[in-house]
């Protein structure tokens, strides 16, 4: 019991951010028209590419060959997620906006 309380105390800021973010995520996604489900999914996909920051930190402190290789790979994968994700989302959305402007 005490360990659990300590845990919560130690990570209280992170827990706070997590809880707020959950509510935020729910709020932000309410009332999305069906046609935007996929671009939204694609955009969210790109945003979770933020995991790339972790891979940069890992590669940034790597010294041995194994860490360097895996870290290098991890950054590439993260970049694919971020860049690929945003470009795909943009492509999906481009299709919508041409219409709006023409009208």
């Amino acid at each position: 019991m005490e360990e659990t309380l300590n845990f919560i105390y130690q990570y209280r800021e992170a827990i706070f951010i997590i809880i707020l973010s959950i509510f935020l995520g729910i709020e932000v996604i309410s009332h999305v028209p069906a046609m935007l489900h996929t671009p939204l999914m694609s955009g969210a996909n790109a945003i979770h590419g933020v995991v790339i920051i972790g891979s940069i930190i890992v590669l940034g402190h790597a010294h041995d060959i194994l860490s360097l290789s895996l870290g290098f790979l991890a950054v590439i994968l993260g970049t694919l997620n971020v860049v690929g994700g945003f470009v795909v989302t943009d492509r999906m959305l481009e299709m919508f906006n041409k219409k709006n402007k023409k009208k």
């Binding site: 932000v28 969210a44 919508f96």
Partner: protein, 468 residues
């Protein structure tokens, strides 16, 4: 100083993700939302490279990092730009998998580096271990599952009806949880072997999780895996006490979950149903053995019927995408409008392979935004519609969803094509749709079949109308 700049940039990045995501949920602001989120991401990456410090050490190996960024950007942009619009869902799945793999790799590398002082104090039972292991498992499951989803959507993997996969899934998740608990109860840092085993187990679970789910449900699965990867990213954020990763990750985790639930609602199926059942038992087939006749219509008759209508609704489906007939479709629409016919499109929320698929397809063909009507609106006008043209759509206009309780699609909201005065169905053959069931709409007296490839048929129809 360094840390202040970094924290400020992470706050800005988090704001960008939140605002970006919000803007992405409205048609007019969506494009900007994407840019804003991307900007925030760029800022976070840049400042991390320049200002991040771990115990006073700055980020090293910068040339290597830049090289990796360059390679990833090049390949990612290439893949995203060159792929056909119909392959968009697969791409989302692919990139999602990349993120999951990244998270898993981070965990594999960070596990041996858990602060020995902390282990000396509390053994392996601490927040760092938990976040590393969760990031590893969730990232691996997401990676493997996303690859399978990619394969299914790309047509490379077929649905498997292996029923014992369900048992394997239950055993798999139990084993994974057991291993995590086991590792956390260790007093000292265990060997990496057990971590590798956990990784393989998670990968296998990811595969068997997605394998039994039907191809038609893939968009829902991808959305779910999307939120998984978000949670994996958040685990990384927890580990590094990194606010940008925490916000970005959890935001996607929760938003992604809501989105998944919304998608399920559009199909009127519960998430449990999708994950566990595929389409459940085969249809009892209330009129098997009853002779069913279809009537066809000639191109010239169809041309006449359409030209002398006042109101026409086009119901597009996956067949339109496959035939790449969206431009021909738009040409037909323009032609009919010139002749005084009011032409609109009825878009079912899950028509095609993903929500919004039809919208994107038709937008590519310059179909005005305002002509695309959502299901409820279109259904309200069906009774007044002279002709409904169903192009390559099947399950979304199947009346069994409303009439036959034993049908696997029963309860799914459909476009009420049956209410229109005349129905023309353009299809290549009498082949079944994704739900693999018969569609009584085709045999209805009001319906006429027009067989052929959508693009071909539409172009010929256009020629007929012009020749009138």
């Amino acid at each position: 100083m360094n840390d202040s700049i970094l924290q400020i940039s992470y706050i800005i990045a988090s704001i960008c993700y939140i605002v970006g995501l919000k803007k992405l949920s409205h048609p007019l602001t969506a494009k900007n939302g994407n840019y804003i989120a991307a900007l925030g991401m760029g800022l976070a990456i840049l400042t991390t490279i320049l200002f991040h410090r771990t115990d006073g050490h700055a980020i090293g190996n910068i040339p290597l990092i830049l090289l990796a960024l360059a390679i990833g950007s090049f390949l990612g942009t290439l893949a995203a730009k060159k792929v056909k619009m119909t392959a968009m869902p697969q791409m989302v799945s692919l990139f999602n998998g990349m993120g999951g793999a990244c998270a898993a790799l981070i965990s594999i590398m960070e596990f041996p580096r858990i602060n020995p002082d902390i282990i000396a104090e509390s053994g392996m039972m601490n927040g760092l271990t938990l976040s590393i292991l969760l990031g590893l498992v969730i990232g691996s499951v997401s990676f493997a599952g996303s690859m399978i989803a990619f394969g299914k959507l790309d047509g490379r993997i077929n649905d498997s009806k292996i029923s014992y996969l369900k048992i394997i899934n239950i055993i798999g998740i139990a084993a994974i949880i057991a291993m995590i608990v086991f590792i956390m109860f260790q007093e000292e840092m265990p060997s990496m072997t057990i971590v590798y085993i956990l990784t393989v187990l998670s990968l296998l679970y990811g595969i068997s999780f997605v394998m039994p789910i039907g191809g038609a449900d893939m968009p829902v699965v991808i959305s779910l895996l999307n939120s998984f990867t978000g949670v994996a990213a958040a685990c990384g954020g927890f580990l590094y006490n990194n606010q940008a990763m925490l916000t970005g990750g959890i935001l996607v985790g929760s938003a992604g979950t809501i989105l998944t639930i919304l998608m399920c609602k559009a199909m009127n199926r519960s998430l449990m149903n999708v994950i566990i059942g595929g389409f459940g038992g085969s249809a009892a087939g209330s009129d098997e053995g009853v002779e069913k006749h279809i009537k066809e219509i000639t191109l010239s008759d169809a041309a006449v019927l359409l030209t002398y209508s006042q109101k026409v609704y086009i119901i597009p489906g996956y067949g339109l995408a496959v035939a790449q007939a969206q431009h021909a479709c738009h040409d037909l629409e323009i032609l009919l409008e010139d002749k005084g016919v009011d032409v609109k499109y009825a878009i079912h929320p899950v028509a095609g392979r993903m929500p919004g698929h039809m919208n994107v397809l038709l937008a590519e063909a310059d179909v005005p935004y305002t002509k695309l009507k959502e299901m409820e609106e279109a259904n309200a006008e069906m009774a007044n519609t002279d002709v409904v043209i169903v192009i390559g759509a099947n399950d979304v206009v199947n009346p069994a969803a409303e009439e036959d309780p034993s049908s696997p699609i029963y309860g799914m909201p459909i476009i009420k094509a049956l209410d229109a005065k005349n129905i023309i169905v353009i299809k290549r053959s009498m082949a079944k749709g994704y739900a693999a069931i018969d569609n009584n709409l085709f045999y209805h007296p009001k319906n006429r079949m027009l067989f052929g490839d959508a693009k071909n048929v539409l172009q010929k129809l256009i020629a007929e109308i012009k020749a009138m």
